[in-house]
């Protein structure tokens, strides 16, 4: 994560930056069904970086890592032209529980561990003052500053042989659902875009469609899973019992390539990836 590209040290809470950097790395481990064992942190400090900012950033990383039993085992600190943060997390998983994005099969149900768009809504709230309900404001800001990687959910899901593929939705549904499908050599049809209430509230206040936050916002860290269709209903019931939240069906994997959106009573249309492209300003 680079200052000015992935975060703005001048205007963002240091602890939140540390938390989000660790969250995105833990989320990658969660998406493989693994237990995050240890993390290493390489920090580049620029001439203007304050020691207090660095300490707060570490506190944010440390608090979230500890919550998941992950040790910060080492790292490096160098000077750099901009503040930057490179985290590596090492995870552990048995071969039979390892999940990747390329294991999906045609006909699999695509499902999400939670609704999307709240993180993007939080970012909008950081940028401007908006008159929305306190509870929506609070959950949007929490989703942005202290997102929860789905480590327990990933391990639980990977324990089922009916879960064929997983990945995290950190770059937005329009981007990541397509990536899972392509990696599995398939296409996908999305029939529902689970949108977080906070995303709906913020988008409405801005005259926008909350579903675009879910499709293109990113940084939500919910997991997308591909599940054998005959096992889905039972798995979703057990998931809801265990986690107290639904495993939300959003569509299915198809033999036909491409990513389609086909909502009830709407014509089918192609979904174009418009989420985070890590090199979008490059070149």
């Amino acid at each position: 994560m680079v200052d000015g590209v992935h975060f703005l040290s001048a205007s963002m809470d240091a602890r939140g930056v540390g938390h989000r950097a660790m969250a995105s790395n833990l989320s990658d481990i969660a998406a493989m069904g693994a237990r995050p064992v240890l993390a290493t942190v390489a920090l580049g400090v620029a001439a203007g970086t304050s020691e207090e900012w660095i300490l707060e950033c570490y506190r944010g990383m440390y608090a979230l890592a500890s919550e998941h039993g992950t040790k910060i085992a080492g790292g490096d600190i160098v000077r750099a032209p901009a503040l930057l943060l490179s985290i590596t997390v090492v995870g552990e998983v048995s071969r039979s529980r390892l999940r990747r994005r390329d294991g999906g099969r045609a006909g699999d149900v695509l499902a999400l561990t939670g609704p999307l768009g709240a993180s993007r809504a939080g970012l909008e709230l950081m940028r401007r003052s908006l008159d929305i309900e306190a509870s929506a404001r609070e959950s949007a800001l929490r989703a942005f500053n202290t997102p929860a990687p789905r480590v327990a959910e990933g391990r639980w899901l990977a324990a089922s042989s009916h879960v064929h593929a997983m990945m995290d939705c950190s770059d937005g549904l329009s981007t990541d659902a397509g990536r899972l499908a392509v990696a599995s050599g398939l296409g996908a049809t999305i029939v529902a875009i689970p949108t977080h209430d906070a995303a709906k509230a913020v988008a409405e206040a801005l005259g926008e469609d909350g579903r675009t936050y879910a499709l293109d916002g990113g940084e939500d860290f919910e997991l997308i899973v591909a599940v054998a269709p005959r096992a889905f209903a039972h798995l979703a019931r057990r998931f809801a019992l265990h986690f107290g939240r639904p495993l939300i069906s959003i569509g299915k994997l198809d033999k036909a390539s491409g990513l389609r959106l086909h909502e009830t009573a709407q014509p089918e249309r192609e979904l174009v990836p418009a989420g985070w492209d890590h090199l979008r300003y490059y070149g």
Copy 2:
């Protein structure tokens, strides 16, 4: 490693930059007596970075990693204000063979797996044209562009219970011998500064003392080890038989704190760390 801080992409060979970045990470694993299993690479690309430069840099990393049976298992690529490279290497070692810099005991012989200063000599040759012998030129440039991390040496040494502490000498002897001593709660007396012939040749051509390259140059990646004194002669004989090069005794660890240089027929003097400080231009 950051462009403009640790390397200069405009004037340095991309393959060499990749090789050296991987070497310094493998060297840290070697210094713990471990086998480097896998590496992850985070790459930040700046607006002006050419694709060919990146590919060459990866080739350099990949070739050296492969040589040591290390897989490049993943990583990340982002845009950044300057080209940067963050490598993490995961190693594996049994508990009994794990060595750290803090295990040295008073009276231990300090030894090096090879002479120092060649990398700094190579850097000088990159900067200016010098009239020196071809063989010295070649080994200086090789030491700078394609240094060899002492992975086999580290594992071999760690197999001996008489080797109490190890670290790599990547920041220069004046810095790293002191670090090992301090970590072990001790001081050290250095009685010899093994200086690479190429360092002597380049330094002489510049009217300098090759020993300052060995003391302060860094990036040599030889290992410093602390060995039980009664076991040293036998270990050094076996090392020379196995590797075809000597294990060079350079002094000993003392109860008295501080780092001293005491060469034959010279008065003892304090050695001041003047090697690489990773934050020296910071703040």
